[in-house]
């Protein structure tokens, strides 16, 4: 199966960087457009544990961080001869990814695996694996989780 547009959600983690590299390889092999997305999700701060901060301050800080992380992922893509499009999206991770998939008319979503304990799943509202089926259903495209 060939893909024309690949969206990859990235963070600075080793798994996410691995996913970014794999997405770049697939983009090269399929001659597809590659889109790296960093989602600024402040839900954890607002609902998880209250802090003395407005979401405005956190968003600004995370946007800056996201830009840098996308830059690191871009370097990986360039090693494969692919120039990615970089998007910093603000919102809840699942919704933001769905929006980018729709906007970019993507046919594959690539994500890195994140290990979570039970406590952390509760605190961070689930993990990647627990949301794959939901993402597949809502976007109607393939979702690949890189371990």
């Amino acid at each position: 199966m060939s893909y024309k547009s690949i969206v990859c959600g990235v963070t600075g983690s080793a798994h996410a960087q691995k996913a970014a590299l794999k997405a770049a390889v697939m983009a090269r092999e399929n001659d597809a457009q590659l889109i790296y997305v960093y989602v600024v999700d402040t839900d954890f701060f607002r609902k998880g544990i209250a802090v003395e901060l407005s979401s405005h301050s956190i968003t600004e800080s995370l946007q800056h961080l996201g830009t840098h992380i996308l830059g690191v992922a871009e370097q990986l893509a360039l090693t494969q001869g692919v120039t990615p499009k970089k998007i910093v999206k603000t919102g809840r991770i699942l919704e933001a990814l769905q929006e980018v998939v729709k906007e970019e008319k993507a046919d594959l979503l690539v994500l890195g695996h994140e290990e979570r304990t039970f406590f952390e799943k509760v605190l961070f509202k689930g993990d990647v694996e627990s949301h794959v089926e939901e993402l597949k259903k809502k976007t109607g495209i393939d979702v690949s989780v890189v371990r």
Binding site: D41, F45, G48, E52, L53, S57, L65, H68, E120
Partner: protein
């Protein structure tokens, strides 16, 4: 003509209103010579604290004396009543007195023992004087149980994150006031806290200080100075990762001592992660020492951490008091934790791929430069003046909030920053409302007697020993702050410590305040939920893809937290006592 008619109308209204008073005065004079008894006294609780708004009633030969105005105690617990009795009533009559207030047991009627004749005037009126003080005992009324339940529910809602802490405190405060007026109007056993008492309980010094500091930090962070300092740390370290970690810790601690820990971490984390990613090491190896240093640095000053602001305002402790008593132990704690973290992350630091240091420095210089030099100069000078005023506020008898407010106002005026934007984005309104509501909830617990019960229990547990009290306050605060929000905990502890200061020999110099400050601020280092700065660090690291689990946090932070609390124990028992 119309004006004259209006004047006549108001004049007649005045005479109508004044007539009964005049008649009463005339009546009193017309009734002939009188005995006047002036009774005064102070009413305190079992802890010796004056009680306000205690109603005092008088009986002469078993008949209640109806006074024009009800006699009640002032804020200082003082009452004074003037009884006008028929001539010759005194000194033979039996004059009794009783006092009562919701949440306290009404006293038995007590006969005034010494009624002294003061003088006789030309008209034959005789004045007498008497004095009687009371100690009121608490009554366990429904108000006590409601206030206890509300406090516990608010704590639980915050601790288990069942709702936003501001909403939890808001709900608690509203329930207390609603019950007071809905049920308390008909049955005084349900009077928990009056609206006036609730307003009085809000420490506006704390609110204004927090608000003004948020404004100053909001302006300072627009200059990019925090990120620039992190870049400078890298430049100073010259590629030495150990030196880099140490400098980052010191910078974070110093910044946190004067600015709030959360903002400091929020601004320094992105640049730290960027440096770590460039060095190809786990950013957690820098972030954990930084957040630890932030909490230690914040403990050192009056404005460094919200518990200190609350303690300083409640106990009237100055900025200099905090620096004199806490900065040295915080510096010692910082050095110990610095050494600990360097040993802990030695392997990570060794793995660092330093590469081309000069290229990295050039990159960071470009990315993290000062964005607004003029604003930085203005902000720096203002911050310097504010700190100078903090140092002088004790001598000037000026609340610290005034120093911060004048600094924030002047800085905004000279920098021409958009005030609306500042108020909308930089002031953390949920936090300020949380503080306001929390003060009301704790006041409810204090008014209904819960705090007094806890204070008595702590006193009994310590058996009057200062050492035992220090150990209890320090360690209980540290353990509690590791798992629950240290702000409501400190708010609850303030009246308890104030009481212990008055009953435990040697505590009157305020050492227990330092035990509370050290415990509440440093204990938060123990877990990822112990301090807001920890939550921000874990959350930011998580969003960057670097996961710090709850247990991982404890594994990393428990030992240095324990070390710092042990150091504080020695400090308090050996140096401060």
């Amino acid at each position: 003509m119309k004006r004259f008619a209006l004047f006549c109308f108001f004049l007649s209204l005045f005479f109508i209103a004044a007539a009964p008073v005049t008649a009463a005065e005339e009546g009193r004079e017309a009734s002939g010579p009188q005995d006047t008894l002036i009774v005064a006294g102070t009413i305190v609780n079992s802890q010796g604290k004056p009680i306000k708004e205690v109603a005092v009633h008088f009986y002469v030969n078993g008949v209640k004396v109806e006074l024009e105005e009800e006699v009640s105690t002032s804020k200082a617990g003082r009452y004074e009543a003037e009884l006008f009795l028929p001539r010759g009533t005194l000194p033979g009559a039996r004059v009794e007195i009783e006092a009562g207030k919701p949440a306290y047991k009404t006293t038995e009627r007590v006969a005034l023992a010494n009624v002294l004749k003061e003088k006789t005037d030309d008209a034959g009126n005789v004045s007498y004087l008497a004095h009687h003080g009371f100690t009121l005992q608490r009554a366990i009324t429904p108000a006590f149980w409601i206030a206890t339940l509300v406090l516990l529910v608010v704590y639980a809602l915050i601790a288990f994150e069942l709702m936003h802490r501001t909403l939890a405190a808001f709900l608690g405060a509203s329930v207390l006031l609603f019950i007071t007026y809905l049920v308390g109007t008909f049955n005084s056993d349900y009077v928990i806290l009056t609206f006036e008492d609730a307003m009085h309980a809000i420490d506006m010094n704390v609110i204004f200080l927090l608000m003004a500091m948020m404004m100053i930090v909001g302006i300072l962070k627009k200059t990019g100075v925090f990120q620039w300092m992190a870049y400078k740390a890298y430049q100073l370290a010259k590629g030495n990762v150990y030196a880099l970690a140490s400098i980052l810790m010191v910078i974070t601690a110093v910044a946190s001592a004067f600015l709030d820990n959360v903002t400091t971490m929020l601004l320094i984390i992105p640049v730290t992660i960027e440096i770590a990613l460039t060095l190809k090491i786990d950013p957690v190896a820098f972030l954990m020492p930084e957040v630890f240093a932030s909490n230690v640095g914040g403990t050192a000053t009056l404005i460094g951490d919200p518990p200190n602001i609350m303690i300083g305002s409640y106990a009237k402790l100055s900025f200099v008091d905090f620096v004199q008593n806490l900065s040295v132990i915080c510096a010692i704690g910082l050095v110990f934790s610095l050494v600990y973290f360097i040993f802990l992350y030695k392997k990570d630091y060794l793995k660092a791929q330093v590469g081309d240091v000069q290229t990295m420095i050039a990159h960071l210089r470009e990315e993290y430069k000062i964005t607004n030099k003029t604003l930085l100069i203005q902000g720096g000078i203002t911050m310097g003046i504010v700190i100078a005023l903090f140092i002088a506020h004790g001598a000037l008898h000026m609340e610290p909030s005034i120093a911060a407010m004048v600094g924030a106002a002047v800085l905004m005026a000279i920098s021409r920053v958009d005030i609306v934007e500042m108020i909308e984005h930089e002031i953390e309104w949920p936090t300020l409302i949380f503080f306001i509501m929390l003060f009301i909830v704790v006041a409810g617990a204090e008014e209904s007697g819960l705090i007094q019960v806890i204070a008595e229990w702590v006193k009994d547990m310590s058996q009057g020993s200062l050492v035992a009290a220090i150990l209890m306050i320090l360690w209980v605060s540290a353990i509690a702050s590791a798992f629950i929000d240290n702000i409501p905990f400190t708010a609850t502890m303030l009246p308890i410590v104030a009481y212990l200061n008055t009953v435990i020999p040697g505590a009157e110099h305020g050492i227990l305040w330092w035990a509370l400050a050290l415990g509440a601020c440093l204990g938060g280092n123990g877990t990822m939920i112990g301090a807001s700065a920890n939550v921000v660090t874990v959350g930011m690291a998580e969003r960057a893809g670097y996961h710090i689990s709850f247990m991982k946090y404890i594994k990393i932070a428990a030992i240095p937290t324990l070390i710092t609390i042990i150091l504080c124990t020695f400090w308090l028992l050996v140096v401060e006592i």
